[in-house]
Subunit: 395 residues, 2 copies
């Protein structure tokens, strides 16, 4: 059976050519880049080249990139590392209500050592209002963390405006952004954004799992979280995963090149789905912002049915999608993102996320648009809520 | 030029077959193991199989293994995670003087939040005396961390005795061991050792970089350090690096199988080098224990010459070795391990470590034994210390 993969936010395939770039560092050039002898030299050179590509993708200098093993690790390093380094200056952190679990859990842990957190709300489209951030600033505030784009609802946040307004009122406050869902898929420039730190992950732009990085603006103090050797300028210990980093480097290079074309192509496919799905099935609504959203992302709430049941039914028809961020997809909680956007608990359970990959074709979208209505119809027949709704409607 | 790689402790090649096992998870089965749909299923199954092999290697249950991205990360997770989880019980930690930087730096960081550390000494062979550990126990002690084997001097520590004596005196004290240099190279059984936690790394037994794990005895409380999703039972967030984990699993399976033969073969080669080198060059002494040492490990101090100069000269002749643990090899510090063993600063600078890999042949050792004397002779000619020595000797 042909399978249609629309779960980019959970995992993406490697871009063509990335595997071949990684391969020598698994097969032959196995040296440690920190070694003094020649057998580490190929690895050291490849690491430096990858650092160039990865930093260039976001407009940073190579020395401003700290490689990590996941976006989650980069977020933990940023939140804990920056807050701890600023502890003498203050103990207040601002984060949005729709941040990834890695950010929200990291601030909860910091609270145990005396930090205080303010959770900034979002509107019904999942947008953070810069004014809400600014008004929550205190003289003790040392760190603001707002994501670049949300992987569950696709909304792109006004990070540039937030940074500008925060820095205007409180120049000493550091701003971090979790750009895992955005980097490599939309143009990002750390100087234009004005952020002090930015987390991003290789797999999100068709690099390997196990590759990610934290951009840290030159001169910004950071308390390392994984301590050990001199790797990454002493800011993240552990032997470098050379193959993964090389793969991320090549993916970054390819993503930068493909960006303009891909943006146009993905946006068209996304909009085909966003327009088509609510026409194909009644009582389906887009979640997130219609206008300011990730080009590969279409997310919905489907009334009277559960996300999990839809996923399994779609899977049976050869379509892979998701209902949650991958980190919690096997758990049964309702999305904190959708609740923060004001959706009620029942509706939030009907969450469905289609996230397109580079190879997604218009025919795939059309296949989904055909396959989806009978799935929903069958599930709704089993739903007492839907029966009630039909009765109310006199149908 | 033929190259002879004797730097296992810095990096090892993949065992034959490991790359091919990893390959599908880079090329085709790219799904996220946490996904509900079928595209994550191959990854989820491979992850479970790898967990079986990795846990079996050390006699643990699959649920007792937490995958990390490096031995350094596993050590940080163990030291910080166990200490923080025991904070209400006490604030004292015991570590040996020759632990890896990841352990020593982690305890230093814990000291900032109120922990106290006792550094247990080692003897001239780098051995920890269990009595020295027991005598340092306090009623506030919550954690002991002693390495299974040291990568700089090859000494295998009496971990089993230490655990037995610690638990006899203070049953509530947790014991962690950094087994990165030992696991997969010597037989290890967590039940026989009696430890509560054990760090190990895939590359040390011919698995990929980026693969490592922490054994955590069932029921042991741990504060996660990389927080995020539900991966690894909520104890270590971040999308699993499936290919790396699969590679570690296959390497563990192969290491277990190869262990008996390899032990015999490596020990013979090691002893050929340990006996041969001091015969080939005067004023060379073995560092670490002659009897209780890693089968792949031969380390020396060469008088009147610097380790770095020797490494570069050997490299020029096609031989890769190291002078330090890889984590600090590009830094210029003198080994804290050798200083803890009572070597003076000058002698410690002449440190040289040959660590054999599975493909090392007797001919490689003989090539080294031939190549080494002229290297030392040339360097000693430039050494004022050596000139003084010759004068003293009346030569």
């Amino acid at each position: 059976m042909k399978r249609i993969y629309l779960d980019h936010i959970a995992a993406a395939p490697l871009a063509p050519g990335v595997f071949e770039k990684m391969r020598p560092f698994l097969e032959t050039d196995f040296g440690n880049p920190q070694s003094l002898h020649s057998d580490g030299q190929a690895a050291a050179e490849a690491l430096a080249a990858a650092r160039e590509h990865v930093s260039a993708l976001i407009g940073a200098d190579p020395g401003e990139v700290i490689f990590t093993a996941s976006g989650t690790e980069a977020n933990n390093l940023a939140i804990k590392g920056l807050a701890q380094a600023q502890r003498a200056k203050g103990n207040h952190i601002l984060v949005s209500a729709i941040e990834h679990a890695s950010v929200l859990n990291a601030v909860k842990t910091l609270e145990k050592s005396g930090f205080q957190t303010t959770i900034v709300p979002v509107d019904g489209e999942g947008r953070i209002d810069p004014a809400d951030v600014v008004v929550a600033l205190r003289k003790e505030t040392v760190l603001v963390s707002v994501m670049t784009a949300n992987s569950e609802v696709g909304t792109i946040e006004p990070v540039e405006d937030i940074v500008r307004e925060v820095k205007a009122k409180a120049p000493g406050v550091l701003v971090h952004t979790d750009a895992v869902a955005a980097a490599g898929n939309v143009p990002l420039d750390v100087r234009a954004l004005g952020v002090d730190a930015l987390s991003f992950s290789g797999n999100a732009f068709y690099g390997p799992k196990g590759s990610a990085a934290l951009f840290l603006k030159k001169g910004t103090k950071l308390v390392p979280q994984i301590e050990g050797g001199i790797q990454e300028g002493g800011r993240r210990g552990g032997t470098e995963d050379v193959a993964a980093i090389v793969g991320m480097g090549e993916a970054a290079r390819l993503a930068a090149k493909a960006m303009p074309d891909r943006l146009v192509r993905m946006t068209a496919l996304r909009d085909r789905l966003i327009e088509g799905l609510p026409r194909a099935v009644e009582r389906v609504r887009l979640t997130g912002s219609p206008g300011r959203r990730l080009p590969y992302h279409a997310s919905f709430c489907v009334e009277f049915v559960g996300g999990e049941a839809m996923l399994l039914s779609l899977d049976f028809k050869g379509i892979a999608a998701s209902s949650f961020s991958a980190c919690t997809s096997k758990s049964l909680k309702v999305s904190h993102v959708l609740l923060a956007m004001g959706l009620d608990h029942t509706l939030a359970q009907g969450s469905l996320i289609f996230s397109l990959i580079d190879s997604t074709a218009a025919a795939d979208i059309d296949f989904l648009l055909d396959a989806f209505p009978p799935v929903v119809e069958r599930l709704r027949k089993m739903s007492p809520l839907y029966t009630d709704f039909l009765k109310e409607q006199g149908r």
